[in-house]
């Protein structure tokens, strides 16, 4: 009779323990981030891998999203003769919400998986052990550069995505919906506030941190063999995506609920 309850309790405890491990891992990452040695070359490499090479996928995502958003707002706005809000809503929607969230999710798919697979493979082939025997701390050499790189570059990706998304809205607005080009741009700029943009960039930094953290966490805790690495990769992407959406809600609540 108590069996279902016990199972529920076990599940809850396991989930809490997992959460505790992630929090400890995050704290340890931050601690190692602040103490030498620092690996500048690894940081540069990780920034290139995470930031630069994610530009195409983030750019394309933003372009199509901005375009679709313009169409949606136009047809929705037409119900109460408010078609003119298209530029403003596209801009606010992109920089506050869709730029960071969709950009973050795309980076999560690309980066959390590749980090988890790389570090997981290193774990399975004893490369992590080898690092330790060569007096190099795996957290400092592998985790810190990736987490730092993602925290710094994802906001930049978000800024680029925001611009491209607004440009996508502009293309559809002027090309398909008959907006005047100059008026579209004026409207975009007029109502956009500094905090709209800044909040999106802060979200980007948080998402970047979470993405790389999940990749490293699941990679470092990968099970043995190819199966272990596969499972780690999948878990990293799922966890990063869920954390992005959950933290996005929390951040939005903190930033805009007042």
């Amino acid at each position: 009779m108590l069996a279902p309850l016990a199972a529920l309790g076990r599940g809850t405890l396991a989930a809490l323990a997992g959460l505790g491990h992630v929090v400890l891992f995050a704290l340890s990452t931050i601690q190692h981030m602040l103490t030498p040695p620092f690996y500048a070359k690894e940081l540069a490499q990780a920034s290139l891998m995470i930031g630069y090479f994610s530009l195409p996928v983030v750019g394309l995502t933003a372009l199509f999203t901005g375009g679709a958003l313009a169409l949606q707002i136009y047809s929705g706005g037409a119900r109460f003769n408010a078609e003119a809000v298209v530029p403003t809503i596209v801009a606010i929607g992109m920089v506050r919400e869709l730029g960071p969230v969709l950009g973050g999710l795309m980076v999560a798919a690309r980066v959390a998986s590749s980090i988890a697979a790389e570090i997981g493979t290193m774990k399975v082939t004893e490369q992590i052990d080898a690092l330790v025997t060569l007096s190099t701390h795996p957290m400092k050499y592998l985790t810190v550069p990736r987490v730092l790189a993602a925290t710094l570059t994802v906001p930049v990706l978000v800024a680029v995505g925001d611009s491209i998304g607004i440009f996508g809205g502009y293309l559809v607005g002027t090309g398909r919906l008959g907006f005047n080009s100059a008026a579209y741009l004026t409207n975009t700029m007029q109502f956009l506030e500094f905090w709209d943009i800044a909040s999106g960039l802060v979200k980007g930094a948080v998402f970047g941190f979470l993405i790389a953290l999940m990749g490293c966490y699941y990679g470092m805790n990968s099970g043995r063999g190819a199966q272990g690495v596969g499972a780690a990769t999948k878990s990293a992407v799922v966890a990063a995506s869920v954390l992005i959406l959950a933290s996005n809600y929390v951040l939005t609540e903190v930033f805009f609920a007042a």
């Binding site: 004893e126 052990d129 080898a130 025997t133 060569l134 007096s135």
Partner: protein, 244 residues
């Protein structure tokens, strides 16, 4: 200088080490033999702090190093059984990994190439990536990495497995040389009896989680120990079961 005292380690129900006692003197070459899966690699990893024993003591120059900060690893070199080369780095950076993070940074590449030569690899190999090398070449790169920074304690986990007979002799000679000329302390794991005879000052046999026999190399052929007799003779009949 390295001493294991009653070291125990189990992975779940699998009791791998059940009271290992072993003493390794400075400047000597100890070879560990024993059946596959008896915990030879696990023993080395316990000393290096990569695996934490459940109980017992591991003394390095008299101080217990279990759970201690891994600063002592500066004195160690390790050849992993599977090579464990960093596949994101070219061969020479693998070999020079420790040097590149030390004051000897400027000469790191030259030293790496010299060490590669010592393990029988041409300088051309230096700029290739580990994935482009054969298994035996990877093993030798791992060996070059283990000795690159001239550590005073070196562990070799199956250094000649997967090498051709000629290369195996080269590597045996190299390990012997490192002990006699540089005075390093080494522990080598091997299944190859000709390696044992070429490398060892002392031999220890691991069986059923404990050191079954330990003694100087000269006693290997004269001992009455049934386990050693069976192992050295490669006999199917004896106290060691074929299915483990």
């Amino acid at each position: 200088m390295i001493e294991l005292k009653d070291v125990h380690k189990a992975f779940g129900p699998n009791k791998v080490l059940a009271g290992v006692d072993l003493k390794v003197e400075r400047g000597t070459s100890t070879v560990i033999i024993g059946g596959s899966g008896t915990g030879k690699s696990v023993s080395l990893k316990c000393i290096l702090g990569l695996i934490r024993p459940d109980s017992g003591q591991i003394l390095l120059d008299g101080t217990d190093i279990i759970g201690q900060p891994s600063d002592f690893l500066d004195r160690f070199g390790m050849l992993f059984q599977g090579g464990a080369l960093f596949d994101s780095l070219p061969v020479w950076q693998n070999v020079a990994f420790r040097l590149l993070r030390s004051p000897r940074k400027a000469e790191a590449r030259d030293i790496a190439i010299a060490k590669l030569r010592r393990v029988g690899l041409k300088p051309e190999v230096a700029d290739r990536y580990p994935a482009e090398l054969s298994g035996g070449m990877q093993k030798r790169v791992g060996l070059a990495r283990a000795i690159a920074a001239d550590p005073d304690i070196i562990f070799f986990d199956e250094p000649t497995t997967g090498l051709d007979p000629i290369m195996a002799v080269v590597i045996n000679d190299l390990i012997r040389e490192i002990v006699t000329e540089i005075g390093a302390t080494t522990i080598t794991i091997t299944h190859d009896m000709s390696s044992v005879r070429a490398i060892a000052d002392r031999v220890a046999m691991l069986h059923a989680g404990r050191i079954q026999w330990e003694g100087p190399i000269g006693d290997l052929d004269t001992t009455e120990d049934a386990y050693i007799r069976q192992f050295v003779g490669g006999l199917a009949e004896g106290p060691i079961e074929a299915i483990r």
